[in-house]
């Protein structure tokens, strides 16, 4: 069974949600405290959402230096899967495991609402259970989610197919880009495709009894073995 470690920083508040979502998808999920220096033999590491260290200074800027992050860096360097959701995505950018930065929403207000996003790449460990690019509706809840990077980086992300999640284009009946992110970027991965960060919260929509399970396939992806090359791409 795939072992999923959910890192708890002081101020994490989606840690329990992420753990439950991973278990619902069939993984074995457990917490790792930010002061731990080992990941308990995890195959997958999730940096959950929340306000690590209150998001003081900049979101993720302080959490990035937590003792556990050395182990996370090593896990990523060894090709292990690392997923950052919302605050986790911000931490990954601050830690330079992903390029760019997440800045104050263009609207200058915290935004909590469902948005329509296109799962553009299904060749990452967080999305390969989608067998083709798919539009899903996921909640966002953040004050600093505007993805920003220099032109060169943006061009590279596009060229290398590293924009994993993109906010839907404005249209009747869709809830588009909520934060002014460049190129409607909602999630990206690193060049090796084993580190993925996204702003929306799939872990909050995994139970049909609550109205939507649009997020479940993300966690099924984590729990499922990597599809054979030439398989679902």
């Amino acid at each position: 069974m795939v072992r999923v470690a959910v890192v708890r920083f002081p101020g994490s508040n989606c840690d329990e949600d992420a753990r439950r979502a991973a278990e619902r998808a069939g993984a074995e999920a457990f917490f790792v405290w930010h002061r731990d220096t080992a990941l308990g033999g995890a195959d997958v590491v999730i940096l959950p959402g929340g306000f690590s260290y209150g998001d003081y200074l900049r979101s993720g800027a302080i959490a990035r230096f937590s003792p556990v992050m050395a182990a996370v860096q090593a896990h990523a360097a060894a090709g292990g899967t690392v997923i950052g959701i919302c605050n986790g995505f911000q931490i990954l950018c601050e830690a330079h495991l992903l390029p760019g930065a997440l800045m104050r929403n263009a609207g200058l207000r915290f935004v909590s609402k469902p948005v329509d996003v296109l799962v553009e790449r299904v060749d990452t460990p967080f999305t390969w259970a989608f067998d083709r690019p798919t539009q899903v509706r996921l909640p966002v809840a953040h004050g600093e989610g505007r993805y920003v990077a220099d032109g060169v980086t943006l061009a590279m992300l596009e060229a290398e197919g590293r924009v994993v999640l993109r906010y839907a284009r404005p249209a009747a009946g869709t809830e588009p880009n909520p934060n002014g992110a460049e190129r409607d970027i909602a999630g990206i991965c690193n060049a090796e495709r084993n580190v993925v960060g996204i702003m929306p919260h799939p872990e909050r929509v995994v139970d049909p009894a609550l109205g939507s399970a649009d997020g479940l396939l993300f966690f099924r992806s984590l729990a499922a073995p990597r599809p054979v090359a030439g398989g679902t791409r």
């Binding site: 260290y53 209150g54 003081y56 200074l57 302080i62 230096f65």
Partner: protein, 83 residues
Amino acid sequence: MSYRVHVRVVPRAGILDPQGQAVEHALGVLGFAEASGVRVGRAIELTVAAGSRDEAEARARKMCDRLLANPVTEDYLVEVEEA
């Protein structure tokens, strides 16, 4: 004439500054033990068209009083340089 004005807005002494506390704690963890009394506020830069340096400063202070600073919780400091 136009001047470049630098405004610093910081939490008033005695007022709790959770952000400053968190940054100070983090600096300590990073081995910057020599840092203390950290306060975090806002830095605002703007260009002000004015007849004189003094006028530019006076106008900038008005902006602080009316908009840039919160009179209940913050102090501000204005510096003017020729643009």
